[in-house]
């Protein structure tokens, strides 16, 4: 097992408010789904946004520690942030389709990177849509506006858009919180396929989803990493009382 991301002693405080992350140490394995779960305000989103440096544009008072991806500390000011964000894709809770066609949404990232060859772009469109399990539903209307898709399709389009960039890591922040159970099932199934090629970090929207999808799971509570371990251990046999209470629905 290879550790794709190694987080060492990470602490984060926003300009407003208290510490949002306290001394986090976590190793995230390649080719697996690592789930970060816990009640709202635990710091899960904050952690994801540190990994792709999306927090750069937020007012932050203090950021300490290291995030090593393939051994490189991405928090180093010398990191090429644009390259990092291509390598580490992100899917948000609310699908944000850009005001273009379906195809335009998918080729956007590649065009930003300077890819102009039509054959390459077409290839990327088909490949990424297939990976996100959306190809069959939209292959005949790639030039329709993306906003015409249903919510579930939009979210898979966002996933496909990330995949078109050929990332190595995919961060997903409650990607199915707004979706119906059938669409949720499709996204989860797609993730199970994708984990063979990618490193996946998922913030689920429920404990049930955490238990269903996790190869590894980390329980966050108020900025602290309470417990980390393989999913089947953590959900059936938690070591910490707080994890047990949360998993069994005694708070949350």
């Amino acid at each position: 097992m290879v550790d794709k991301i190694v987080i060492e002693n990470l602490s984060l405080t926003y300009a407003e408010g208290n510490e949002s992350l306290r001394h986090i140490n976590l190793k995230i394995a390649a080719n697996a789904i690592t789930v970060l779960f816990g009640p709202a305000g635990g710091g899960k989103s904050s952690l994801l946004r540190c990994i792709n440096r999306l927090n750069d544009l937020t007012d932050i008072r203090l950021l300490q520690g290291k995030i090593l991806i393939d051994g490189q500390n991405v928090l180093d000011p010398k990191t090429d942030v644009i390259a990092l964000r291509r390598k580490v894709g992100m899917v948000f809770a609310r699908p944000v389709v850009l005001p273009f066609s379906i195809r335009g949404n998918l080729t956007y990232g590649l065009e930003l990177a300077g890819e102009k060859r039509k054959s390459r772009l077409d290839e990327a469109v088909e490949r990424s849509l297939k990976l996100a399990a959306l190809w069959e539903e939209v292959k005949d209307r790639l030039d329709d506006p993306a906003v015409a898709l249903s919510g579930g399709q939009q979210q898979r389009l966002c996933l496909a858009r990330v995949l078109a960039n050929q990332p190595e890591i995919i961060l997903l922040d409650e990607p199915t919180s707004g979706l119906d159970p059938i669409s949720t099932g499709k996204v989860e199934a797609a993730l199970q396929e994708l984990k063979h090629q990618y490193t996946i970090v998922l913030v689920p929207h429920s404990v049930q989803q955490a238990a269903r999808t996790a190869d590894y799971a980390a329980f966050f509570l108020q900025g602290e990493l309470v417990e980390f371990g393989p999913g089947r251990d953590l959900f059936t046999n938690p070591k910490d009382k707080r994890t047990e209470d949360y998993v069994e629905g005694r708070f949350g």
């Binding site: 792709n52 999306l54 544009l57 948000f92 944000v96 850009l98 930003l112 960039n165």
Partner: protein, 300 residues
């Protein structure tokens, strides 16, 4: 009991008051239109159409060609927009997307303050500061030219454009920007390809209102354009004195004999101005309406 009666009374009175003020606004525009029409229609009996659209404006000799005034207004306004649109949108983008928070908090009120500056003051600065410098810099016989008018009008339109465009950019959800950043778009690519298109309708409104301000502006233009009614057909007209429609009305209306031909023609010019600004406003609202419908689809 008492308070319910009071509420009834308010429910009855307030909506009617609002309705009445709404309708009276329409009524006033219609009244203005008919007044303009009544005072300008005799023109057609007194001056032939051919003369009206000829190149010479010289009322003392009964020459009433309004073409130089129309081209003068167009030249100055277009010049102003060429200056004000890029500068205004650029400033709005800077304030909303690039400037750090402390700078934004200084710049926004400053821009709004500039917007409130009386145009006479700007005209004064134009005569004393801008025109002499233009004359020396460009080696012209006089600095009081269409260019001076365009620069000042542009300056007047900029705060309007900045303030409205900035509000529109500000209203674009953060999620759009983050979506683009997370894809590896640079800050500039995000502004150009995502934020500006998403704010399109507001930015268009800003530009249209800016044009509206520039066309209607009188004092500044009268003070700095030199007021020579010469047909502006060539590009170098920009570096010569011109005269606009608004300046002509303002300068001559006070001295003209009531119900004379000259008087009627001045009202006819007013009519032309009215129709131009009506056309600009209609165009603006139809563009904005379309853009808004699109934006609503996108954002919903």
């Amino acid at each position: 009991m008492n308070s319910i009666r009071k509420l009834d009374w308010q429910e009855f009175f307030i909506p009617r008051l609002i309705k009445a003020s709404g309708y009276s606004a329409i009524l006033f525009v219609i009244l203005i239109f008919f007044f303009l029409l009544r005072e300008s229609l005799p023109t057609f009996g007194e001056v032939s159409l051919r003369q009206l659209f000829s190149e010479r404006w010289y009322p003392i000799e009964a020459r009433y060609g309004i073409l130089p005034l129309i081209t003068g207004s167009l030249l100055v306004t277009i010049g102003a927009m060429v200056i004000a649109v890029p500068f205004g949108i650029g400033t709005a983008v800077f304030i909303s997307e690039i400037a750090p928070r402390w700078l934004r908090e200084i710049l926004k009120p400053l821009v709004e303050l500039l917007g409130g500056l009386p145009s006479v003051v700007l005209g004064f600065l134009g005569i004393l500061v801008l025109a002499p410098r233009l004359r020396i810099l460009l080696d012209l016989p006089t600095g009081l030219t269409a260019l001076a008018g365009s620069l000042l009008l542009g300056g007047i339109a900029v705060p309007t454009i900045v303030s409205i465009a900035e509000d529109a950019l500000d209203a674009v959800p953060l999620a759009y920007r983050e979506g683009a950043w997370a894809m590896g778009a640079t800050r500039w690519q995000t502004i150009w390809r995502v934020t500006l298109p998403a704010a399109r309708s507001g930015v268009l409104t800003a530009v249209m209102l800016g044009i509206g301000r520039a066309i209607g502006e009188t004092m500044t233009v009268m003070m700095v354009t030199g007021n020579a009614p010469v047909l502006a057909t060539r590009l170098d007209s920009l570096f010569r004195p011109v005269r606009t429609m608004t300046a002509t009305i303002a300068a001559e209306m006070g001295e003209v004999a009531n119900a004379s031909t000259h008087y009627h023609v001045l009202f006819f010019i007013g009519m032309v101005l009215f129709l131009i600004s009506l056309a600009v406003n209609l165009a603006a609202s139809s563009i904005v309406f379309k853009a808004k419908k699109r934006a609503e689809r996108v954002l919903s």
